[in-house]
Symmetry: C2
């Protein structure tokens, strides 16, 4: 049927099951929900030894089976060794039809593409993706079942309510004691916090901590406590924290991007959001950091203190906290080593949040609901403000949904920041995006170097912007500008096979992704 | 039937239901367990206002009904105002048949005895009790259904696995923000931590924070986060922290008790427990603190550092942490204001644990399992080492089970410390205790001024004590000494009505308490 995002979606998807259709960004908010029944597969015996000397020993002790779901977190990002280590060992034992429920997969996980080919892995669900061998294998139809792309909050929701049942959670732990008290902030492979693993630890049948840093009891601080952990596996190294930092983490020097950043700050100011107790979230990319810097300038000029910065935490937010421009940080993952080091100092204002606390719309109030300003990334946006963060214009999968849907829905103003024309003469504004990730209903503004488009739904913002001199245009006009400049229009050829299911944060299917033939 | 603690227990108890019979202290350890399905009665709407101006407003917003279960925590102990405030308001609205699931009830809650009489409250379940009007009303058969006495870990287990389903949890919060991020360490009524409320917050259908200290967002530190809280109620005062301290919190000066304390320290030393990374737990009573002092002396002499002190935390443990004699504290509640103040300082080594992490035997490893030495309190012990911490020799209920069962089962050596003869010429050793709370299977030593009895089950300890010169006697001999000194033997007259069910920490019924007629 045609869903509320105007996408034609079948009622049943092979390898996924019955579809619950997307019905609007807020259709399922304020309802009665269920969290899952949790089976403790085996409670602790007195004096039981949780320690295993290596992956093989823990695999010997676990009830492995074909068709099981195993999970991993992605705080070590492109420096993670654990996912490959475990999956290759499982593959070596001949288990097949595994559902890999990793909160994130990066280029370092490319070796797992072979396990897709040989049907060790037949399904993946994730909320962070980097383009590489795995995304390519999926997009070209090599994986048996479709990948499920979720938001951070959507994954936490699915784990908590049982939609994503995890048989075994493997948690890369930069620091653990013999009982399995874990933290992410100490040790050679410190990655900051372990937020994305919190729900896995609470709801998986078996929980395995994999560590290269076994410390004396009790391991301080305790992020995940011993009552959730079955086994502690000692390995040589769980990862390289240098891989945490990916891409630009410096303020852009591109004059066009700086111009866009200034416009965004002016827009936010004109809309009345530069005020005491304001809160905001932005990524660690060059343009995002430039926006953060411009916002900071305005805060300093007005001598105000903000409430919090949230999401992935980077050095820029840490500095704002240290300079008392923010009262607190809500950290769901560290984007750079400055953030990791600051977390290690245990400043009480540097708060860690679980993925559920961050963005799960099924609980009693997630942090994104308290967020004023959200700077969104995205590959494409259409004239209805639908945002695509999953696929390129060529139809290939590039990313999962991250915090995009969650923050767009929760924040008081959500802003897409981009040059109108991108590399290869591509225009960010399309008539229709390849994939709808974040519905236009929740995307408020598109700020480009060629003008600012405000979602007509936000009459309140449009009123505030009247007479400010900010260059307002319609999304349609931006689209036309792109056309006039000869924007490249790709026309990928799709096969029939559905290779990806895009779940909105409430678990409904907002879009599907089809196999790319050429 | 006759259960494993040699108590004749019916298979069905009116007002309680079908009985699961106690089968031994470790009969249900290492099994597959279930945690409860949790219904989120209503997920948060965007911009929803959680703030209520007073108890009446929140009661208007809650789906109150006859027969509901409401819960409270007891960290404010005898200084708590919230339980009375809420229960009297519920009573005023005419609701009946309420199950009061309070983690602890004290003398300050005496006004609730009237609500038992008029059947507003028809059942109570608790894990901490002070003798007063409520215990008297129960013991004399005034309450419709039997009180359920649990251990701290047992309550957490029951809440987590759904045996104790809470409709509405009211959480006295010394500090809250408008979204319901809560802590116990800030504000006028600071009580330290809120551990006993953690499971309630996670599993109750509705969660109400009651606070007299509404702070700006976000409230730091966050003990219970906003994703668990439906409403935040502002009241004038939630309690008087002076009521936290109850009874003696100074080292005893009684020479007999000091003698017993020294013997215990010598016993522990002789058994090899004064060693690097040792851990111990002791209450805040005069004799317990004397034991702690003697243990400290030995640690200092041997120049060793212990691993942790756990349970209710008092100034003595805080001092040991500050003096680096302990690496960490695991705090489940503060026993005095020094502990409260230390927690407020956020020393990373002062760890807060949930009641489940503390003592729930159904999870993957609670802290009591890591405990070396436990000093137990108790009213009576019998020659089979069964310990009664629930009732006096006159049959009246005096307390719930606290951490007694949990720590006795988990620790490597559990020791009852007492003068043989107590006030009124009562002897602590009986042929048979009035009520079995903690099974003899888990109680290792009884240390009195007249000798040390070691449970014959602990052959390992007896071997270690050979030739040490410590005055070993049998429990039978201690009993006889009491008889020879003319120990008072009370013979209460019981009615048929079962007024109390003593659940062992695994949820089986270890004993029942009958109505006292005279």
């Amino acid at each position: 049927m045609m869903n509320a995002a105007n996408r034609e979606i079948p009622d049943y998807i092979e390898g996924y099951g019955l579809v619950s259709h997307y019905a609007g960004a807020f259709a399922n908010i304020g309802k009665k929900n269920k969290r899952s029944e949790v089976n403790i597969e085996k409670s602790a015996c007195l004096n039981e030894d949780k320690i295993c000397q290596g992956i093989e020993e823990v695999l010997d002790r676990l009830p492995l089976r074909n068709g099981m779901t195993v999970s991993f977190h992605h705080h070590l990002r492109n420096g993670d060794y654990v996912t490959n280590m475990v999956m290759l060992a499982i593959a070596k034992r001949g288990f097949k039809d595994i559902h890999l429920a990793a909160s994130g997969l990066f280029a370092c996980h490319d070796p797992l593409a072979d396990l897709i080919e040989d049907e060790t892995i037949t399904q993946i669900s994730t909320n962070t993706f980097s383009p590489g061998a795995i995304t390519k294998a999926i997009s070209t139809g090599k994986m048996k079942k479709p990948v499920i792309l979720r938001s951070h909050g959507g994954r936490a929701r699915a784990v908590e309510n049982g939609e994503l049942h995890i048989d075994i959670a493997f948690i890369a732990a930069p620091s653990s004691d013999r009982m399995g008290n874990l933290n992410g902030s100490c040790g050679e492979a410190a990655c900051g916090c372990l937020s994305y693993a919190y729900e896995d630890a609470k709801h998986a049948d078996y929980v395995v901590a994999v560590t290269d840093n076994l410390v004396s009891y009790p391991n301080i601080p305790v992020e995940i406590s011993q009552n959730y952990v079955d086994y502690v596996v000692k390995v040589e190294s769980i990862g390289d924290p240098a891989g945490i930092v990916s891409g630009a983490t410096k303020v852009t020097t591109d004059p066009v991007q700086l111009h866009v950043a200034q416009r965004i700050a002016d827009l936010i100011d004109a809309c009345g959001f530069i005020k005491e107790d304001m809160s905001f979230q932005t990524g660690a990319g060059g343009i995002s950091l430039a926006v953060a810097e411009k916002i900071r300038d305005k805060m300093e000029k007005k001598k105000i203190q903000g409430s919090f910065g949230s999401g992935g935490i980077h050095s820029f937010f840490v500095k704002m906290l240290e300079d008392n421009l923010l009262k607190a940080l809500w950290n769901v993952q560290c984007f750079d080593l400055e953030a990791v080091n600051h977390l290690k100092k245990q400043d009480p204002r540097h708060l860690i949040m679980s993925a559920s606390l961050y963005g799960n719309m099924e609980n009693k109030g997630c942090i994104v609901n308290n967020l004023d300003i959200m700077i969104l990334g995205g590959f494409e946006i259409d004239t209805s403000f639908n945002l695509n963060v999953n696929t390129g214009s060529n139809g290939f999968i590039l990313n999962a949904s991250g915090g995009n849907e969650d923050c767009a829905a929760g924040s008081k103003i959500s802003i897409v920041a981009s040059n109108l024309m991108k590399k290869g003469n591509r225009c960010i504004v399309k008539k229709e995006v390849v994939t709808v990730t974040t519905p236009g209903e929740t995307v408020d503004c598109l700020v480009t170097d060629r003008g600012i488009a405000v979602n007509p739904r936000r009459k309140d913002l449009l009123e505030k912007l009247e007479g400010t001199g900010l260059p307002l245009v319609s999304a349609q006009e931006l689209y036309q500008m792109g056309q006039d400049e000869g924007a490249v229009c790709e026309s990928p050829v799709y096969g029939e096979k559905i290779v990806g299911v895009v779940e909105y944060r409430d678990g409904t299917v907002i879009d599907v992704i089809r196999q790319v033939i050429q």
